[in-house]
């Protein structure tokens, strides 16, 4: 085989870089950001918007000259909602020189990536997972969460219910048989009595939750149990298709007419889009970002307009907003650090305040948790084409709901 001098030099430099363990980070080409999210299976309905939010943010950045003069390229990988698949994808991209990662839906997947981020010398901006542990007992230095989390979201739901429904004092709940179900329930059981006491000076009762399997098809026993218990309000901890199935069967058996309010930890618009005109009255759903609450925010408005132009749909999921926020955080941190190395980015992200789709966001220096707004939207049936409508929304500053930063220590509700 004939080897030219140029090929020989290129090969030798490449071999030397590999032998010395240097990642092959290109300094002049586009900045590659790894988007790890779920693109297959049922959860892809959330992963695709998350990816889309990142792509829109990257496109806008590139139109404005990129980050530190370099174009931004989003490299997407499907994690299939499985930690092992996600870790393999991150290792593959890290080996190819990518040192910035964003996205992820499921908390176990986020936990797995945060666990290897330091080892691989990469930074990971989580744009959806809600597990309390990620910024508490399982905190890792190279992990940042750019959205609210379970404790904030459910505390906001508790405050919202105490504010808007002071007369609903008997509560039931349905949660999945999983850690996330129990942790959201613990937050609700702590928050609702606390806010009722503070705002209305009255006691509330919360029954033991009805626990159901993930992916269950039959919720009739759960509905029957909730109907036979004397409750006015129901906290819904199940999400996605399970939540649709529960509300579908609750409507058929009359539970939705019996209770005064449902509050869900959050399925964005999915439930209303599925149930259409059968969407129950007084159904509140948590959102990562509700565009309608930020009509005066230019970042939010630009993202919304771009989404509508790209898709024709007028109700973007909150996951789009959080994908967008992750890339905005990277761009702001890079501009601050003027350096794209992992160490510089981690340093710049700690305590960083930037303008996102929900207004001002601060990544708390101690535990890397975003201090930002929490959004809830009230949905109900409508005679219009969609069959459902947004009848109210609730936007609250989540700073005082985030609890104290306790990296390395589990959150306590007391």
């Amino acid at each position: 085989m004939k080897l030219s001098r140029r090929s020989f030099i290129a090969t030798s430099v490449g071999a030397l870089a590999v032998a010395r363990g240097f990642p092959a980070i290109a300094q002049s080409g586009p900045i590659r950001i790894g988007c790890i999210t779920t693109l297959s299976g049922a959860a892809s309905i959330l992963g695709k918007p998350q990816h889309m939010g990142m792509e829109i943010a990257a496109r806008k950045l590139n139109e404005a000259g990129g980050i530190l003069g370099r174009q931004v390229e989003i490299v997407v990988r499907d994690d299939q909602s499985k930690p092992d698949i996600a870790v393999a994808a991150v290792r593959e991209l890290a080996g190819d020189g990518v040192n910035i990662f964003a996205g992820v839906l499921a908390s176990p997947v986020a936990l797995a990536i945060s666990g290897i981020a330091e080892e691989l010398d990469v930074v990971f901006l989580n744009a959806a997972s809600h597990g309390n542990n990620l910024t508490h007992e399982n905190f890792r230095k190279n992990y940042f969460r750019v959205t609210d989390y379970s404790a904030m979201r459910i505390s906001a739901a508790s405050r919202l219910m105490a504010e808007k429904y002071p007369h609903v004092t008997k509560w039931g709940a349905i949660i999945p048989d999983a850690e996330i179900g129990r942790s959201t329930m613990a937050t609700f059981q702590y928050g609702l009595p606390k806010y009722h006491k503070e705002l209305n000076n009255q006691e509330v009762s919360i029954n033991d939750p009805v626990v159901v399997k993930f992916g269950a098809t039959d919720f009739r026993n759960a509905v029957s149990t909730l109907m036979s218990s004397d409750v006015d309000g129901i906290f819904i901890g199940v999400g996605g298709g399970d939540e649709v199935g529960f509300l579908q069967q609750a409507g058929q058996l009359g539970l939705s007419k019996k209770v005064k309010v449902y509050v869900s930890s959050g399925s964005d618009f999915q439930v209303a889009k599925a149930l259409g005109k059968r969407t129950p009255e007084n159904y509140w759903s948590g959102h990562h970002w509700y565009f309608g609450a930020y009509q005066d925010n230019p970042v939010s408005k630009a993202l919304y307009d771009q989404y509508v132009a790209d898709t024709g749909d007028k109700f973007p999921d909150g996951f789009i907003g959080m994908g967008h926020t992750a890339i905005t955080a990277v761009a702001t941190a890079a501009a601050k650090a003027k350096d794209l190395s992992t160490k510089a980015l981690v340093g710049a992200l700690e305590g960083l305040t930037f303008e996102g789709v929900k207004g001002k966001v601060t990544l708390r220096a101690e535990d890397h948790q975003a201090l930002c707004d929490v959004n809830y939207v009230k949905l109900g049936p409508d005679d219009g084409e969609l069959g459902w409508k947004v009848s109210d929304f609730y936007k609250t500053d989540g700073t005082d709901l985030a609890g104290p930063a306790t990296p390395g220590v589990a959150i306590k509700f007391q």
Binding site: A42, N221, A222
Partner: protein
């Protein structure tokens, strides 16, 4: 509490019949081809999507709802014939392990194709107005629940009669028992197998069409039922329609009472039943006669 126990019993029967509707095609295809079809849940899901594509969220009438389920059965039956011709038949001479992996590949293919054709949104489909009502018989039941039980019983009776009393059913059983001997006596083995596989897959499509209003419709629908259907086929005795019917009822009742009496551990009793039956009666409740 009495009302809740009665409701759990009634709901267990409904759940059992829903599981049987899915398990019927699964056990039939095992009886004929001796293959565990991993893709069965996906074909069931495709049936549900086809029915939804025809009726939309609110089927205009019961006949239209049944028509959609019938179309779903025909479409999925045709897919079954294609699957048998293109894949399963070609693997009939190799070890069953290969066929098992092939059906897993078909599952992935079906799930991907469904996503491409129908998208990934979650849907809620409702029963036609005549079934979308409740009756108070001491406990609150929906007409649709009663409809599911009736469908389960009808499918069971038709399959039992068809396989054990009709001329065609006896031919199918002959081919399933000893295809070589069936060929020697002049039966058209491949054609009989093909028709039987088509019927098995059509049952999956029919179940999808009939059960589409029983829960939310999403890409995970197939997996939701598949595990309980597999359990019923194993516990009932591989290839036995009667066994699948009885086992599905048992699982439905145990699942239902599990959620009432052990609410913090949903779904665990079913697995205890499965383990117990496998240990005590590994051939299943209604094993194939030899």
């Amino acid at each position: 509490m009495t009302a809740q126990i009665a409701f759990a019993a009634a709901n267990g029967i409904v759940l059992g019949m829903a599981v049987f509707l899915v398990a019927a095609g699964l056990t039939l295809v095992f009886g004929i081809l001796k293959v565990f079809n991993f893709a069965h849940g996906s074909f069931f899901m495709i049936g549900a999507y086809i029915a939804h594509a025809i009726t939309g969220q609110d089927p205009s009438s019961l006949p239209y709802f049944l028509f959609a389920a019938f179309v779903a059965a025909l479409a999925v039956g045709a897919m079954g014939i294609a699957t048998d011709t293109l894949v399963l038949r070609r693997l009939s001479s190799v070890a069953n392990d290969y066929t098992l992996i092939a059906t897993f590949a078909i599952l992935l293919l079906c799930d991907g194709a469904t996503k491409m054709v129908f998208g990934q949104d979650i849907y809620a489909v409702y029963p036609p107005a005549v079934l979308d009502q409740t009756m108070d018989v001491g406990i609150l039941l929906t007409y649709y629940s009663v409809f599911i039980v009736a469908c389960g019983i009808i499918v069971f009776v038709l399959l039992e009669l068809g396989l054990n009393r009709l001329w065609f059913g006896k031919l199918v059983q002959t081919v399933a028992r000893d295809p070589w001997m069936a060929g020697v006596i002049g039966l058209r083995v491949q054609r009989l197998k093909l028709v039987s596989v088509g019927v098995s897959f059509a049952l999956a499509g029919l179940a999808g069409g009939l059960l589409v209003a029983n829960q939310s419709l999403s890409l995970s629908l197939g997996h939701s039922y598949l595990l309980l259907a597999f359990n019923s086929v194993i516990v009932g005795g591989l290839g036995s329609i009667r066994g699948a019917f009885v086992a599905a009822l048992i699982f439905g009742l145990f699942e239902s009472f599990n959620s009432l009496l052990l609410p913090s551990m949903p779904g665990t009793v079913s697995y205890m039943v499965l383990i117990a039956v496998i240990l005590l009666k590994p051939e299943g409740l209604f094993p194939e006669r030899t």
